[in-house]
Amino acid sequence: MTDQELIWRIAGGSGDGIDSNSRYFAKALMRSGLDVFTHRHYPSRIRGGHTYVEVRAAPDGAASRGDGYNFLLALGDSFARNPSEEAYYGNEELKPLSENLDDLREGGIIVYDSGLIDDEQVAEINLEERAEENGWHVYPVDLRGIAKEHGREIMRNNAGIGVTAALLDMDTSEYEGIMDEMWNDDILEANLAVIQDGFERAQEFDQTHDLEMPDHGEPEEAQALVSGSDAIAYGALDAGCRFIAGYPMTPWTDVFTIMSQNLPKFGGISEQVEDEIAAASLALGASHAGVKSMSGSSGGGFALMSEPLGLAEMSETPVVLVEAMRAGPSTGMPTKPEQADLEHVLYTSQGDSSRVVFAPGDQQECYEQIRTAFELAYDYQIPAILVYDQKLQGELRNVDASFFDREADGDPGSVVSEEEIAEAAEHHAGKFKRFQYDADDGKEGVSPRSVPGQKGGRFLATGNEHNEAGHISEDPTNRVLQMDRRLGKLESIREELDAKGNQTHHGPDEAEYGIMCWGSHQGTVFEAVDRLNDAGRSVKAIGVSDLMPYPEAEVSEFLESVEECLVVEMNATAQFRGLTQKELGRFGPKLSSLLKYNGNPFEPAEIVEGFESSIDGEELAVNNMKYVPAAGD
């Protein structure tokens, strides 16, 4: 944790506008030249309940949510206050204050809405006593009253922004500029008055805190505030994707929504259909007809896609699927992150898997890897899956806007022309040899693919084993040739990926110890690695993105170079460590696991602590994580 950082937590009920206001606040800080990172915590309900968003802002990079936080803006849950709804929601207006105190750092600031949370309630939770113990600085403000005076009650978030700005000595002009872009006339004026009133009232306080806005210069270049889902959608559009079909499911709905709103502008099609089997089937059909297509879901919906996924593998129809993980099994915890669908995406569907699976580690990797997924899927006629999670789906981070300024990919992949079909090897009865064993003018194992409508390219695609012309065949020799050809494509793909370098390394090359992770908590792990090295440890990390085909050489080299390696993942059964041992067949005694599966992502300090106790052989001090020693230990 650096001294130069603000972690601002805005807490209230679902439906209170927490999400929008935190986004505007993060954007304002970003525009003022700070690096920002947001973290969302919300329940699976539409109104009420306890929800918060954290905005972390620091001058030199913010790659994770950080540890705890240092500024609480507790709005009170307005929906709980409505007497007609009390029976359903319960008396929860205090929760945004009471439920958030455990993570607040010493010396932190608390601003709460005294218009919703009264003195009696505050006394109930011994706030005064706790504030004294922890050196917190508490500022009650009637945010609701301010909002009502100038506009409507819903604007109290902005009163809180005004108070925040005054307490941190922050210039409100960037935030007001965003309001100006969002609202017009009356609504804008009311909101600006609310902000200003909050600001002025807070200036009158006897301010006792030390926390201030981190130093920052002017932004060097335009930044974009994007989530993993935004980046996936941009990448898909730039990869030439023009068809998506889906069915809503948290947290996958984000990508589906962004694509639905934008794909038509690009001349593409977005369809909501009856279920996930249909969603992946429509994408498969559209792709078969020659349009780059995708679908996706979260774990439960992805389970339904196992049928079309297997058909895509067997019929060698390219398609890209996104799997946005949430905590399972079954319905699990719909709005909480977990990485327990690893084996699900690798192996679901009957028979041997032949698919490409990537797990991006941050927003930029989301963009890069969805593009690579499309490229490989269409070059190699194979399904490609991008697996990420509720954490990366929702967290916003600033990225250089120019990062996304790249050529769109217009290449349709390995499709033959009508001229090539006319010259192609033919089956004795005149059918096009779509599944030729040894086509020599392309990538290893890739057979010539025609598209319906092309002259002379007619073929049968089938989920049955089939011969070169596509006809159903149970001939043992053909079976082995076709299986080997399909699975052999993964070897060529591995070679291409080795040249791309999807894995991300962090820390000194010659480090003594290693930490391995995959997917969304890569930034958190890297932050922990920096702290460990600063504290005198010798540690490096690798964030693995290629899950299938597995980056055998690169990971082997990493593991050979370290004494021991801690594998950090958000699940209870160490799935990635298991995959690594299965793929490499060695290193068992070197690999121990740090696991977390309570629904909250890792904080950097937890990884530091987990690493220290793995080296010292000590019990973990906190019970929200699990340590699993190396095989034989």
Binding site: D275, S293, D405
Partner: protein, 287 residues
């Protein structure tokens, strides 16, 4: 398309493995005739089928074809048609494929009314798995897995289609080659989702719903005073339940295919004017 297409152009060199006398021979011939009569080029035709005896149809027809997963032929066919509206898409399946495992897709495909045709080869039995009850089997039809019969009323597929907002509902009998081909042709020509339930008897496992049974009980609507544009009359016929009608039972002449209504019936390689080149235009909104 050229008008000199013959129905044999749609025939592959593969001999069907259906049992001798199977209704599916006649069903398939009618499909090929209808496609040829409507001037479709086999290179521009896409046939999708699921699993079971009916699923093999793509093997025996020489067009572009996909033999997919049980019950999922319709969503694949919709994806193909939306991606390339110039293709003639025909989906085939059995009664299990369409009304049991794929019943959900059937309802929504009917609702969506994409311009394609759907032929269900209804033999009221599961043949390829050797004689179990299907969703259209009679209530007391005893089979190895339903020793007392299913003890549930059979699905009325025509009523299911009507309730789902169908714009074309027809029924045919594979043995009446001429009428069957005519009816399929009307489904192909229909602007929207052309649904035909075709009686296609199983000679091996179904000794109740036989050729003789259908010959004796079928009522040809072309010989009756039935107006397929009269929805009320169609509803009455469909819900009667005790007659086996043949012909076009309902057709909405005002049907507009979904892709036309949604304005997505153009070739997807035609990029609309003013379309963004890449995602950078979207990124700007997030500055």
């Amino acid at each position: 398309m050229s008008s000199d297409v013959r129905f044999t152009d749609f025939k592959s060199d593969k001999q069907p493995t259906w049992c001798p006398g199977c209704g599916d021979f006649g069903t398939m011939n009618g499909m090929m005739k209808a496609l040829a009569e409507t001037g479709n080029d086999p290179d521009n035709t896409f046939v999708v089928a699921g699993i079971g005896c009916s699923g093999k149809i793509g093997t025996y027809m020489h067009s572009y074809a996909l033999h997919g997963v049980h019950g999922r032929a319709l969503p694949v066919g919709i994806g193909v048609k939306l991606a390339n509206p110039d293709l003639e898409v025909m989906v085939a399946g059995g009664d299990g494929d369409g009304y049991s495992i794929g019943a959900g897709h059937f309802v929504h495909a009917v609702r969506r009314n994409v311009d394609m045709s759907y032929v269900v080869m209804d033999n009221r039995i599961y043949g390829l798995t050797k004689g179990q009850a299907s969703p259209t089997s009679r209530q007391d039809f005893e089979t190895s897995t339903t020793p007392d019969g299913p003890q549930m009323p059979p699905v009325n597929p025509l009523a299911l289609a009507l309730a789902s907002g169908a714009t074309f509902i027809a029924q045919s009998f594979s043995s009446d080659a001429q009428r069957h081909a005519e009816i399929i042709q009307k489904a192909v020509e229909h602007d929207g989702f052309g649904f035909v339930n075709t009686y296609s008897p199983c000679v091996t496992f179904n000794d109740v719903d036989t050729y003789d049974y259908f010959r004796d009980s079928i009522v040809d609507l072309s010989e009756e005073d039935h107006d397929p544009h009269d929805r009320e009359a169609a509803k009455e016929k469909i819900l009667e339940g005790d007659k086996e009608y043949m012909g076009v039972i309902y057709q909405d002449d005002d049907s507009v295919p979904w892709e036309k209504r949604e304005g997505i019936d153009q070739d997807m390689s035609d990029i609309p004017d003013g379309a963004p080149d890449d995602a950078m235009d979207l990124v700007r909104e997030f500055y």
